[in-house]
Amino acid sequence: METNRRVFLKVAGLATLGFMVTKPALDVFARGQFGEASVGEALDPPHEVGTTTKWGMAVNLTACSEKDGCTACTDACHDYHNVPDIDNKEEEIKWIWTAPYEKVFPEHGNEFIEDDLRGSEVMVLCNHCEHPPCIKVCPTRATWKREDGIVMMDFHRCIGCRYCMAGCPYGARSFNWKDPRPFIKETNPDFPTRTRGVVEKCNFCAKRLSKGLQPACVEACPEKALTFGNLLDDHSELREILATHTIVRRLPELGTEPNVYYYKAD
């Protein structure tokens, strides 16, 4: 009568109580399960949580700045993820936003730079760093790095100490100073809102990836300036771009090794 799944439930319950010993075993189990069933239209390569995948993104600076004042990616992301629209610099919440080129790449802030870049707005988001400083400081492991490189946030576990915000040098994390719900115009039931008192940020559209969809921002960009893909796949479009362009990453001197790359198209 009692099924394996129910036994597993109990084991999983114990594991969440902190018996870290069982975690590797569960991970193996988890991977096995995940491979079996992929739903929807598949990304190339298959989107598997595992060491064969490392998600990354390339941003075409030229194409992106083509249309000044375009907010397509931000809107798509914020609509999908129920990001509240708080019109107040002090309390605003942002997953994707833009900042002046000189601020995004302070080390490129030379006295004389290319005219097309000077003052242009650059699209920025969480870098999903290779060595994320934010996860090292989280006291409850509410933010951690998945095996596929995504720096995840568990809104259920966050206690709102904001230490990760102190850890992140990019300012990619936002805190819910007040209840976000009144500031969401249209709620997308596919994705939860947050409560007041937790930290949030871009999650590379982990839920969309699991359905085999591209991240919302990539899909929404009218200039096709964003390329998303697996950095460990030698033949991916992303790797192709990275191999043939001069690329930059943000604050390379800090050793965080962002997985979001910026390049100028020819």
Binding site: L17, G18, K89, E90, E91, E92, A99, P100, K103, V104, P106, P133, K136, V137, C138, P139, T140, R141, A142, R157, C158, I159, G160, C161, R162, Y163, M165, A166, G167, P169, Y170, G171, S174, F175, N176, W177, K178, D179, T195, R196, G197, V198, V199, R250, L251, L254
Partner: protein
Amino acid sequence: MATRDLHMEEDEILFKPIESSGKNFYLTASILGVLVILGVIAYIYQYRNGLAVTGLSRQVFWGVYITNFVFFIGISHAGTLISAILRIVKAEWRLPVTRAAELITVLVLLFGVGSIIIDLGRPDRMFNLVRHAQFGSPLLWDVTSVAIYFTASSFFLYIALIPDIALLRDRGNSPKWLYQILSAGFTGTAKQLRVLDILILIMAIAVIPIAVSVHTVVSFVFAMTIQPMWHSAIFGPYFVVGAIFSGVAALIIAMYLIRKFYNLGDYLKHKQFNNLGLLLLVMACFWFYFTLAEYLTTFYGNEPAQMTVFWSKFTGEFAPLFWAMFIFCFVIPFPILAINRTRTILGTTIASISVVIGMWLERYVIVVPTLTAQRLASDLPTYMPTWVEWSILAGSAAFFCLLYVLFSKFFPIIAIWEIREDREKKREEIIEYVRERLPEKGEELEEVLPE
């Protein structure tokens, strides 16, 4: 003081605060109580409406609460550390000071930890700190070492209090049941005293490394990030020095108030203030040295991100606070403490008040400017605490004072048994000294010297 009689029967004046409460006490307690209620109201308001009611913002996400956390935990070094060190080096002048110091430690730690909880966005989930503890996080080191420090220093305070509780029990003071329970069956037998002495010594030794670790770890919360002017190797010792600095100052202020309001001029004398004043002077020099080292290296490094913060403190937005900190921490106290003529009871107290204010500003000037000038800040935001934060600061401080006063209404604030023990020892030493040199005078002396 009316009487200069140190041998006043049974040190009666030390029991007075416990046995009678004057108008002053009720007045103080009610003023403090009102402030506490104000703080509680502010917190309930914040709990209901979220941290948006504070002046904190997306960039300056830590402010008064974190400042309070560092400040209160710093003050806690007054106590156990000082009293433990003085105990180990057998500095006899410490005797009337130890309990007042240890009490500061125990009480103020509560408010240090409380500040962190007040700062949480989801205090209802604070147990996640235990349930999902991630020991890689310096915040967890804090939780651990503060918990150990609190346990150890409460125990330290308590065991040194037992003989006095037994004294109160035997005098028949009320509430009898409280003294009955807390005296733990202490009757003053030789065996009990020996065990007590050993325990106190062990705790005194154990508490020192714990205390040092606590403030080191508090500094690591900042130093382990890569934020400009937080990521500094000097922060551990710098914070410990600052902690002892502010702790000693708080102790001197407490001593001054105890002396004044409980008429304990015969116990807390110029000697205690003078010696602690000298200690404060040494700490002021240390503090100056560390501050100099910290800022000078930053200045010569000339790293852009760091320099933004540096200039915001020296000439920019935070210049008034920064220079006020420097004046309060060094310019005012240094001359007062350095000159013998001004190192009086009143002088050291004034210097201490200046140091406590200065050290709160120091914590503030460490926490806030860095956040306003983070690496990629698109503009320099400002931070102005709201009434909620000020009320909670006032409430916490008042609550601390209230608990301190209440403690002194139930237990002697000066360790009576230690003073008596010491007096007896002194008497025997004097008699022995005289007897060795003038054998015939020994007997006489024994009769003259009061028991």
